[in-house]
Symmetry: C2
Subunit: 355 residues, 2 copies
Amino acid sequence: MPNNRVEKLLEKLDKSGLDGFLISSPPNRRYFSGFSGSSGLLLISRSTQLLATDFRYWEQAASQAPDFTIFKATKGLKEWFADFVSRAGVSRVGFESSDVTVSTASTMRRSLKKAGIKTSLISSGDLCSRLRITKDAQEIALIKKAAAISDGAAEHARRVVRAGMSEIELAWEIEGYMRTHGSEPIGFSVICASGPNSALPHATPSNKPINPGEPIVCDFGACVDGYTSDLTRTICVGEPDSQFKKLYNIVFLAQKAAIEGIFNGIKASEADALARSVIQEAGYGDYFGHSLGHGIGLEVHEAPFLGPSSKDTLGEGMVFTIEPGIYLPGWGGIRIEDDALLENNRVTLLSKAAK
Amino acid sequence: MPNNRVEKLLEKLDKSGLDGFLISSPPNRRYFSGFSGSSGLLLISRSTQLLATDFRYWEQAASQAPDFTIFKATKGLKEWFADFVSRAGVSRVGFESSDVTVSTASTMRRSLKKAGIKTSLISSGDLCSRLRITKDAQEIALIKKAAAISDGAAEHARRVVRAGMSEIELAWEIEGYMRTHGSEPIGFSVICASGPNSALPHATPSNKPINPGEPIVCDFGACVDGYTSDLTRTICVGEPDSQFKKLYNIVFLAQKAAIEGIFNGIKASEADALARSVIQEAGYGDYFGHSLGHGIGLEVHEAPFLGPSSKDTLGEGMVFTIEPGIYLPGWGGIRIEDDALLENNRVTLLSKAAK
């Protein structure tokens, strides 16, 4: 019996004229099957739910993906792919062309041809990751756990930061806290950028020593059962300078406008505008060079996307970041980022760290 | 002026009937340009060396890749790709089809077509990663640094391991040691597998407490300027049982046979057989289910591949792991892995941790 997630995928396949679908991308594989191994391929149809994986994962796959029949893949894809597809008796099977490489698609097609199997492989883009856009109670609980760990790490960073410490040292304090407080290994590196470095939204931590008074942008997330949080706090050793105070206040009010103004059915581009207009009116519109936020879940960047050109609409059960910023080249940057759940027609913050 | 690495690629392109090549995979991008950012595309021809990247990396790219002209990519690939390719004036440009997704290749082709550019995009598999198979002095120096860090972590693990500690705690001790002793974030998770768990070569650390006497397989690597080490030690709390001693001795002798028997020009399959035959003769051939080793460098698994069906030949300047193992379901496993440099027609071990 297909579960609720698979049922939604099957409905989407019907509409797309497909009778089967291959899922190769790790987050989608995990979402639809429960299997978290590094290597595997799902094949889903009305009658069949198969998971192909190699000997390293046969035991784990059987335990994590009880709704799926495990197909024991041995040797290379070209040896087993035709047999795998033939088990489902499908004629038009889609694949994730945003994940599958040209070489792999070519191997798949040759394997079918060689075996005389008539199934057509249909390049289907990123057909199913948007089915993850609305989170269920179990997913929200995991993101809350991850957010609580990153909250703790933010407190820890405030406690241990001192002048003269390098960005790398502070980043390691944050990562160490999260990893020893329940976080799985994290797919993205901790950002700690101080002074002028903080003017780059994606700076890599360096050996630069932290100076009193300058902004320190710390951006990081924890991971629990595959679900991530994503938090940014801009902190300071000693007394912040007047520029810091002024910009922090603008960014804080921009974020507040978005938190208070987002409701079910608002366009994601309008959500972005709620915060952006505050920064623009303060005269810093040119210094907020990125989008307001992005969905979080099994990926740290996923739908919905909150930006000026987004076509998404925000709805009940979506979880996304709200992270306005101002970046002045030469001086530094201020960013404040929280994780938001849209429930009961309003935003509830899942991250609670002090701002 | 193309450097030595680019020159070798250009020779390979000539032989393949290509007058340009697009490099998208991160390790190849870094190898040929020096650029270590997470996003970018190289275009190399006899007359042109271009690096396209987005605003996050313009400064870093200019500093890391001085031999390349930075192409400032804005918006999506489909907006800038045709302009990028047209700068090189090439007619047949290869791309890494083992890295590029079907969707991306399609976007590239549509972009050229829309702009009326006649350049053909040729699917070229993994044409250039094998050019990294022989390491130069600078690369060897970096792998040595990484190996020294993992050696230190092995010592640390021996010092802190105790009965009752969980696998996750021990794995974290190892990772924490490496990260605070000069290692960059590591692309692969530390393995600590104890007792029956150690029978799985790729076990994920669990909450299982470590018991006295049982094998604990610890497999991990450090990373310095992008170059990795890869080390496995099988350790024990208290006195190992007789099974442990017996199997450890066989694996040790198997590894020794490979270390002493490998020379310039030996087939990688024969290198594998040097160790495998020792394990087979001891009666455990069915319990050594993986290959003897693999190259290390900018990737933790790269050419040469040392296994029964490998077509590689080992030569001067190659760096690879030698890692035989025996895995008994229900009891556990023994693996010993070192990093080997083939120089002056013999193996020199870059890892020095006690066995």
